[in-house]
Amino acid sequence: MSDSDPRKPSPENRYSLSALARPGALASLALIAAILGVVAAAFAWSAGWFSPHRVDQTHIVNAFEADGGVRAGFRRNHAKGVCFTGWFDGNGAAVPFSRASLFERGRVPVFGRFSIAGPIAPDSPAAVHSMAINYTLSDGEVWRTAMVPIPVFVVRDPKSFYDQLVAAVPDPKTGKPDPSRMKAFLAAHPETLRAIGLIKAQPFATGFANERYNSLNTFLLVNAQGAATPVRWTMEPVDSFAPAPKTAPSSDPNYLFDALGKRVSQGPVRWHLIFVLGRPGDPTNDATLPWPRDRTRIDAGTLTVTGLQAEAPGNCRDINFDPMVLPSGIAPSDDPLLPARSAVYSADFTRREGEAKTPSPVQLQAGR
């Protein structure tokens, strides 16, 4: 092109508005606008701004709030809890299956949280005891897990989980969930009905200290050679299991936490970390399905809980027990609940950490 080409702006006026009068200038402007529009639209699509009804982590946290109400500064689920400290002694038995240094012989510090599923409410025999653990490995890696006593989970994917929460939202007129909505949910989810049957067949323990806690989801242990083994795990209590009574043994709204405090004050409380090794064909992507009972079990080490602390700034209160915080040697399975748990825990964490904090209803008596 020569400088006399009318399609090329002359050096004198290329930056002036009159340059827009040259042939093709408006087409160029339109092209620029179109490119910017496509990039901006792609960004908006990635953000989900074109699909506001697709269920995401915000929807699920909102549904928890609709179900259980909001106590500002507290978790939307497992709101009532207490922190613990202790250690984990690896015994080497899991080393052939996982390269995580945690499983070698040796002790690592641990902290965690005992809690009850749902919003803040008086303790009861139906309360779902829960245990969350943070293992700090010697190489600086961290493993976090959040466990409950039920043998299987009630839903198998995030959308079903959301639909179940929505079905349980209290009717504003009665203050109670509409039974017909839950009935409709269960009719559409036979896997949930089956899971509830399995859950009801296994009673909860009398308290936190003699409860067993399950991973629910399947994970993979990965060894030094890179071989992966699907596993589920259970924290098996050393304290002897006894089934929860039919009715609350006390009118104390915190009787479960108070009993735990008393038990810890009497001496360390221990659990064995038992890995159940899956075999080919065992479901890894459906937490509603149990594994056959005859699967090999490996005792990987012992958790010892020596102290309890009321929730306070900087302790377990301000930790997100995201089950996808995994060390090298433990990996997620293809269970769709796992990334969803991670996403929802994170959204809930961000929401509550931005709110004014008030003391937990679970406080420890002096001198413990």
Partner: protein, 175 residues
């Protein structure tokens, strides 16, 4: 055609352009994704640190290998916009990953890279700090995306309307 950017500058620019654009899309996508959340976060965290390292190299490179001057006759107002937006881009390329690292520190998360490698926290574990930094990370990232759009608009205007060689000074690879 006028003077081009030095080859290392062009290499860093295009490499980082790809990475930053990917990061912005991953970041905005993961916070509304249940199925891919973990996969995306696992890329987002170490890639952010890579960008932080690269922008440090890039700033040093810019001091030693300055960019070619804007064409003579470039209007002062546009020159101001060009200079200002580049200062803003550099500031955000540092600030967004640093705020990300800071907010993970304040949340008490392990700052996992690839293959079991971890970075130390750069702030104490604090709910109040996290509550401040987490929304700041999003706000700065959105500002970076808007600044990127303005940068892209300016580049395309140089290429299609001004035809003054500025676009080619970064985009041309001919010998």
């Amino acid at each position: 055609m006028g003077k081009r950017f030095p080859a290392l500058s062009r290499l860093l620019h295009w490499l980082m352009a790809l990475m930053i654009l990917a990061m912005l899309f991953i970041g905005i996508g993961m916070v509304s994704s249940l199925a891919d959340y973990h996969r995306l976060v696992s890329i987002h965290r170490p890639l952010g640190i890579v960008i932080l390292i690269l922008v440090s190299i890039r700033l040093l490179n810019r001091l030693f290998n300055p960019p070619p001057p804007l064409p003579a006759g470039f209007p002062p107002l546009l020159r101001f916009a060009a200079d200002g937006s580049h200062y803003l881009l550099y500031a955000l390329m540092f600030a967004v990953p640093l705020v990300g690292w800071s907010m993970l520190s304040a949340a008490g998360y392990p700052i996992a890279m690839w293959g079991g490698v971890h970075l130390p926290p750069i702030l104490p574990h604090s709910a109040a700090l996290y509550a401040l930094l987490r929304p700041l990370h999003t706000a700065l990232a959105l500002l970076l995306f808007v600044t990127f759009l303005a940068h892209l608009a300016a580049a395309l205007t140089h290429a299609f309307l001004f035809r003054d060689g500025v676009f080619e000074s970064m985009a041309s690879w001919r010998k």
